[in-house]
């Protein structure tokens, strides 16, 4: 099974992990990485 999230968030970074500007959404996960419920995927 799969869960797909699509959401709107301020600014943010591109996929390669560069951080754009202050206050934008920033990913904190890795492709192929294992995650558990409640673990942080990203932060605004």
């Amino acid at each position: 099974s799969t869960v797909v999230l699509v959401f709107e968030a301020p600014g943010g970074e591109n996929v390669e992990g560069k951080i754009e500007g202050k206050g934008g959404f920033r990913w904190e996960c890795r492709r192929g990485g294992k995650v558990k419920v409640g673990e942080r995927l990203g932060v605004v």
């Binding site: 099974s1 869960v3 709107e8 968030a9 995650v35 995927l41 605004v44």
Partner: protein
């Protein structure tokens, strides 16, 4: 004729399973052959609320020969048979060794499950839908974090390009509205504002103040008619000395039947005309993340943030496996599969969560939606590509939808 019928001895013979599967494949193939085909030989998906004259959506399963064979297989029938088979009660003496073997093969951590007594799970379906021990999944405490809704593997994540394309790192791209339905289906939705941060239509306040927003408890701030309020004060009538007196306080039971001024205030806030985000300088973008749940993973999904679920769009679709292998070989996989798109708002705008089914887990559960039935054999949703939309606006008049709190269980996937 009567004598022949009454006197002829009836003998039963087992037929080879392959013959049975061949027959099902043939009947599925014939059904597919009868589907409406548009002028370019594409299978046409028909949407429930398709307005006359609207160009039908083209969904076309293509890929290597394995995928072609798979797309003619009666996957839904297999899924229902698999669900039926796994809901047969197992003998008690077989349960513990059986579930231990399953856990060993698929990597289930038996120390985490809520009910450690394996004999209490009557069948594999119940074991598959097991709960976890309370507190075993701590929720990230950061107020502005987005957390994982499920146990699993992160397949893709990134930014939705302008024009609504969800791009994968491995180049698999599909249009957003093919995944969660288009904006025009029954409900207007905010389109992602252009990165230049132009203000949302119809308001003349500066952009950083016109972001659509959401009521969330405790730490959010709101401005009503230019006066700053904390949220508890707004709903419960308590105000710090810096805030002017508010209308009479509401009791918890009152929230069930809000007074007109509460509704008008809440609507004001939700419509975003006076909403103030904590980062006024930010313009918003659209992001996506895809998480794959393997057979041994905990199969319930939780809310990644505080948000209000306003709409549910159930796409019947097929039940292809969503394993990484098929992901690589079947473009548009997610737009073909049975899925339930939950759409709503969080404090930064649009928020959607879409659980996608697969052949072994075709039944998608949403705890607060008792009407939802997926993996249906008959009825209006048996037609591939059909879509059914339901609104949760009545769940909470003040918020206009079902309030989902960060970390709260939303639903899950059941076998078959």
């Amino acid at each position: 004729l009567r004598q022949a019928l009454s006197k002829t001895r009836i003998e039963w013979y087992p037929i080879p399973v392959g013959l049975g599967i061949g027959f099902l494949a043939f009947s599925q193939f014939r059904k597919a052959a009868r589907r409406p085909i548009d002028e370019e030989d594409h299978i046409v998906a028909v949407e429930e609320s398709q307005s006359p004259g609207q160009k039908p959506k083209r969904i076309r399963p293509d890929g290597p020969w394995q995928v072609q064979v798979l797309s003619t297989m009666p996957l839904k029938a297999f899924s229902r048979a698999w669900g039926w088979f796994n809901s047969r009660p197992l003998p008690v003496f077989l349960r513990t060794p059986g579930f231990k073997l399953y856990s060993y093969i698929f990597g289930v951590n038996l120390d985490e499950i809520g009910n450690p007594d394996l004999t209490s799970y009557r069948n594999l379906s119940e074991f598959f839908y097991r709960e976890l021990r309370p507190g075993i999944r701590p929720i990230d405490p950061h107020p502005n974090s987005l957390v994982s809704p499920a146990d699993g593997t992160i397949l893709h994540f990134g930014e939705v390009r302008p024009g609504g394309q969800v791009e994968q790192v491995k180049g698999m791209t599909y249009p957003l509205d093919a995944l969660i339905g288009s904006k025009t289906i029954g409900q207007e939705f905010p389109t992602p504002p252009a990165s230049s941060g132009t203000s949302s239509p119809g308001t003349n306040t500066p952009p950083e103040l016109s972001q659509p927003g959401i009521l969330t408890p405790d730490e959010e701030f709101a401005i009503v008619n230019g006066i700053h309020y904390t949220l508890p004060s707004l709903l419960h009538g308590t105000s710090s000395d810096s805030e002017p007196p508010l209308p009479p306080p509401l009791s918890e039971s009152d929230l069930g039947a809000p007074t007109p001024n509460t509704v008008s205030v809440a609507n004001d806030l939700i419509e975003g005309t006076t909403w103030h985000t904590l980062h006024p300088s930010a313009s918003t973008k659209l992001f996506f993340c895809v998480i794959y749940l393997a057979p041994g993973d905990y199969h319930r999904y939780h809310s990644p943030v505080n948000w209000v679920v306003q709409l549910r769009r159930h796409f019947s679709g097929e039940l292809f496996s969503v394993s990484p292998f098929l992901q690589r070989h079947l473009p548009n996989l997610f737009t073909l599969n049975e899925r339930v798109a939950l759409l709503g708002k969080w404090k930064h705008g649009l928020f959607t969560m879409t659980p996608v089914g697969a052949t072994n887990v075709g039944s998608i559960i949403v705890n607060f939606d008792k009407e939802l039935r997926t993996n249906h054999a008959r009825g209006e949703l048996a037609r591939p590509g059909a879509l059914k939309e339901a609104s949760y606006a009545s769940a909470s008049e003040v918020l206009g939808g079902w309030p989902a709190r960060k970390g709260e269980e939303i639903g899950g996937f059941k076998l078959g």
